[in-house]
């Protein structure tokens, strides 16, 4: 089957076609790039680096209802995610898609998380290859990804100049191609090879890296090392690194009741960097300071998660480095781990 291409002139049409689904694309709110549902193709902003908040929020919303109830009534009304319908995320970066595949391992570990998994099933991911690295702090190749990475994606678009090369990677991807049959054309024979060359070039443009081999095994032994105090001294204990991280998935569960007695149990993103994250009702806190919490976060991503799921829970998107207000830099921390 021939590989397809989408002429840039037809992007508006294609997005219009896709807006019969729940279409999520990068858009601008003031000068901030966010992923949001768009009805008008004009809203899509595809010529972007990367969004501040990753598109993980589409399959794992920041706040979502688990079930509803009425105080005094024993019936619990489970939230039906199917109502949200088929969703297409158009134009996300390979790192963000790979992150969803990584997090999916946890959400299907022994117990199936029906909310995440159903959304994942209903969502088609159309990726946009990174011809240029979105940021100087990208390091996806160091952690198993790449600027033209395909893991987690259903379709990959590559900007070839006047058109996008469209490569379908899964059955869901093929289905979406069929939806866009009127907008797609067959790509030229040499395009795939050309894209491979562009991928290698793009990887060469990524300037930061870390040798992760051995880090998962080394971390537990560094428990009492004074590097943790040093790297966490400036930390504000906010949630920027965790909320903007595409692989972070920790959540809180809270019950909310309105005045008339109708309520819901919902879950919302939580951050292991917040002090109350592991606070017991008795007042005891096993991770009382930023030092313990920083050590836990890095250990979780680079040691605990790989020990269980064989993959480092970091995709090298660089958001935490770019947006940490005090310039705490995960690569800087990992270099100290390697040197310790």
């Amino acid at each position: 089957m021939a590989v397809k291409k989408l002429s840039k002139e037809k992007i508006g049409e294609a997005l219009k076609e896709l807006s019969k689904f729940r279409l999520i694309a990068p858009a601008r709110s003031d000068e901030v790039v966010i992923f949001k549902e768009i009805a008008d193709p004009e809203e899509a902003y595809l010529d972007y680096g990367n969004s501040t908040v990753p598109p993980k929020k589409v399959v794992f919303p920041q706040t979502e209802t688990l079930f509803r109830f009425m105080v005094g009534n024993p019936e619990l009304e489970e939230k039906n995610v199917e109502e949200e319908g088929t969703t297409v995320i158009f134009g996300l970066r390979p790192c963000d898609a790979r992150a969803m595949a990584i997090v999916e391992k946890l959400f299907s570990w022994d117990y199936d998380d029906p909310y995440f998994l159903k959304r994942r099933e209903l969502t088609t991911l159309v990726g946009m290859a990174c011809v240029e690295p979105p940021s100087v702090n990208c390091f996806c190749p160091s952690v198993g990804g790449g600027p033209f990475g395909k893991e987690g994606l259903d379709l990959l678009l590559t900007d070839m100049g006047d058109y996008y090369l469209v490569q379908s990677l899964t059955d869901k991807g093929k289905k979406l191609e069929e939806t866009l049959a009127s907008q797609l054309e067959d790509a030229a024979g040499g395009d795939e090879k050309k894209a491979e060359g562009m991928a290698a070039e793009a990887e060469g443009k990524i300037r930061r890296s870390i040798k992760t081999e051995g880090i998962p095994e080394k971390l537990p032994g560094l428990w009492e090392n004074d590097l943790w105090k040093k790297v966490s001294a400036a930390c504000l204990g906010c949630g920027i690194c965790t909320f903007l991280c595409p692989t972070c998935h920790c959540f809180d569960i809270q019950d909310e009741v309105e005045e008339l007695g109708d309520g819901r149990r919902c879950r919302m993103w939580d951050s292991c960097m917040f002090s109350e994250y592991s606070l017991h009702a008795s007042g005891h806190n096993p991770r009382p300071t930023r030092r313990e919490r920083t050590r836990n976060r890095i250990s979780h991503k680079y040691s605990y998660y790989p020990s269980r799921f064989d993959v480092i829970a970091c995709v090298g998107c660089g958001r935490c480095i770019n947006l940490c207000p005090v310039n705490i830099d995960i690569l800087d921390i990992l270099e100290q781990v390697v040197d310790a």
């Binding site: 709110s29 501040t52 930061r208 504000l236 809270q254 951050s271």
Partner: protein, 327 residues
């Protein structure tokens, strides 16, 4: 311009004192033009200290941020002082913290840095994208001089200057044990013209404006955590028992959070602008805080963070107050 050798000499002296346990200053960041906080515990570490227009962080927040752990049995508490480098705006945070009796004057050693302005790092990175190797920023002859990747670029000061600096009234620290440079005279004022323009907009307009901003809020609490005045050990917005503010993130809770925090800062916010700088969603928080500042100035003729001996405005009751009860 701060003489960097003098700064390091003074820092070495201070950290060598028996009664000082830590010195908080600035050091180069990990990429591009960034600078970051430095926590120095010995004179051998002072060589990495810097002070440039890239030193945007308000280090005063660390005085109240550091966790106070229970002292293990048999050990004495560490009562040594903390030394901190502060710009003019940052020093107001120390003054306000001391005004509120968060700690005594004798618990900090203040190294004041009269400041000629810092950059808006977002503007710098937009103007010179893709800089990875550490670059330097200096202010010379009314221009920012950026040295990076083997080249030197000069940019007129006002193009990269942080907005808060363009209206700074206190460039010289208001409290210090030592001043690391010559005093800088006030060179600007806040005319509040943008606040007044916002005030004049219709309610519908204003609500649309803030709804767009607050919808982007992800409740990372970076604004609260970076704020030197937000140091309550048990923040009312974190409480679950009772739940004053829901942890769920939606326009209603987000709006409540920002308005509540602005009210908690009324008469206390010292206008360092860190909240707005750190916000990943680029919410113009200083517009709220400046509105309160303007109102507090007009209603009570009071400026927080200017006088350690002053009584905290909204925490003080006087018989002459208009209201007939303390609430």
């Amino acid at each position: 311009m701060v003489d960097i050798n003098k700064l390091r000499e003074i820092a070495a002296e201070v950290i060598s004192r028996d009664d000082v346990r830590e010195l908080i200053g600035y050091r180069p960041g990990t990429y591009g033009f960034r600078a970051r906080p430095a926590f120095v515990t010995g004179p051998e570490e002072v060589d990495r200290l810097i002070f440039t227009p890239a030193c945007v962080n308000n280090l005063a927040t660390y005085i109240t941020l550091e966790e106070k752990l229970p002292v293990p049995r048999g050990q004495e508490p560490d009562t040594r002082k903390v030394a901190v480098m502060v710009k003019g705006c940052d020093s107001r945070a120390l003054v306000q913290q001391m005004e509120e009796k968060a700690y005594g004057r004798d618990q900090v050693v203040v190294l004041g840095i009269p400041c000629t302005g810092v950059v808006d790092m977002a503007r710098v990175e937009a103007r010179f994208p893709g800089v990875l190797e550490l670059g330097e920023i200096a202010l010379e002859g009314g221009k920012f001089v950026l040295s990076f990747d083997g080249k030197v670029e000069e940019v007129p000061k006002d193009e990269l200057l942080a907005d808060k600096c363009a209206r700074c009234r206190y460039p010289t620290p208001l409290v210090y044990d030592q001043l690391l440079d010559d005093e800088v005279a006030r060179f600007a004022d806040d005319d509040y013209s943008d606040i007044e323009a916002l005030e004049k907009r219709s309610m519908e307009d204003k609500w649309g404006y803030w709804e767009e901003k607050f919808s982007r809020c992800i409740r990372c609490y970076s604004c609260r955590n970076v704020c030197p005045m937000c140091y309550c050990e048990d923040c009312v917005l974190d409480r679950i028992n009772p739940t004053w503010m829901r942890r769920s993130v939606d326009i209603s809770e987000n709006t409540a959070f920002h308005i509540a925090r602005a009210y908690h800062l009324a008469g206390r916010c010292i206008q360092c602008g860190e909240c707005q700088r750190v916000c990943p969603a680029k919410i113009p928080l200083m517009e709220l805080n400046r509105k309160f500042y303007k109102d507090v100035g007009e209603l009570y003729d009071y400026e927080p963070g200017t006088n350690v001996e002053a009584a905290p405005l909204l925490a003080t009751f006087s018989v002459e107050d208009r209201e007939d009860f303390i609430l």
